[in-house]
Symmetry: C2
Subunit: 144 residues, 2 copies
Amino acid sequence: MLKEKIKAGFRSSLVEKGLKSTRQREEILDEFLNDGSHQSAEELYLRLRRKNPRIGYATVYRTLKLFEECGIAEPRQFGDGQTRYESSFDEHHDHLICTTCGKIIEFENPEIEALQLKVAGEHGFVIDRHRLNLYGRCRDCRKT
Amino acid sequence: MLKEKIKAGFRSSLVEKGLKSTRQREEILDEFLNDGSHQSAEELYLRLRRKNPRIGYATVYRTLKLFEECGIAEPRQFGDGQTRYESSFDEHHDHLICTTCGKIIEFENPEIEALQLKVAGEHGFVIDRHRLNLYGRCRDCRKT
DNA sequence: CCCAACATTGAGACTCATTTTCAATAATGG
DNA sequence: CCATTATTGAAAATGAGTCTCAATGTTGGG
C-alpha cells in the first residue's frame, strides 16, 4: 500500500542524509499520512499529543521541514497566517478558498497549467512549481 | 497626472470614513506611489525614515492597511515571510518569481483568468480575487 | 482665531507562528 | 556494549505584525 512505500522511501532518505530514524519521526509521518490535507504544524502537534503527550512542539516543526526536504510534504500559505502542509503524493492541484467559511476545495486544470508553461517560457523562465489560489464565496455562503 | 488623482481620492476616502488627513499619511502615500511594486512595510519604513527620521514603524503598518481599505494598495505574499503591497492602480497581473535571484516579473493572461472563472463556476464559487505565482528559474539564473 | 472633541502618532510592549539553544537522551556502526 | 553523533523537549529567542497609551495634531464650530 502507498503509505508503506512512502514510509520506506522516507527511511531511505534518512539514511542518504546520514540522519536517524526515530520513534517521533515515524509517529509524525504516520499521523501526517493519516489525515487529510492542509494540516498546520499546530494541528498535527495537537493530534499527536493525544497519542503521545511527550512529543515536542519543535519536533513537529522540524520534522515537517524534513518531510519537505525529503519530498514528502509541501508547504502552502492560505492567508490565515499558518503554514499548512500537504502530501506531495496527492495529485497536483490548486485551491478554491471560501473567504466566508474558510472551506478549501481542490481542483486541477490541465489547460491552466499548459498556459502557465507557455507564459513562463515567453519570459525565459523554467517553472518548478506554481501556486494558484482563487478566493471567493462558496455556494452555501452566497445564499446567506 | 495619475498620482494626484490617487491622492485626491485618498483624501476623499478619509473624509468619508471620518478620518483625518495627516502629514504622515501624505508622506507614506507619496513614497508608496513613487516606488516600484512589491514593497514591504519595512522597506517603505526605511525609505521614509531617510526623509523623516521621526516616522514610526507602526504608522507605516497602519497606513498600509488603511490604503488597502481605501482600495489603493493590495497585499501579496511571495513566500519570503513578509507581506508586500502593490498599487491597486497597476493593471491586474500575476507573478513569475525566480527562486534563485528573487527577481519578480509581472504578467497578465486573460486566457488563464477565463479558465479560472470557469473552474470556479463549476464548483459553485464566485471569485473575488486570485493569486497565481509561478516559481522557477529565470533566464539569467539558468545559465550559471 | 480659538477650543473642544476626537483621531493620530511614536515608542515600546505584546502576540503568535516559527526557530534556535542546549543539556539530556536515543540511535547507529563497529 | 560503547562511543559517536543525531535527536529530543523545554524554554528562550526571533521576527513580522499589532496593540496600548500618553502626547500631539487635525477638524469643525463658535
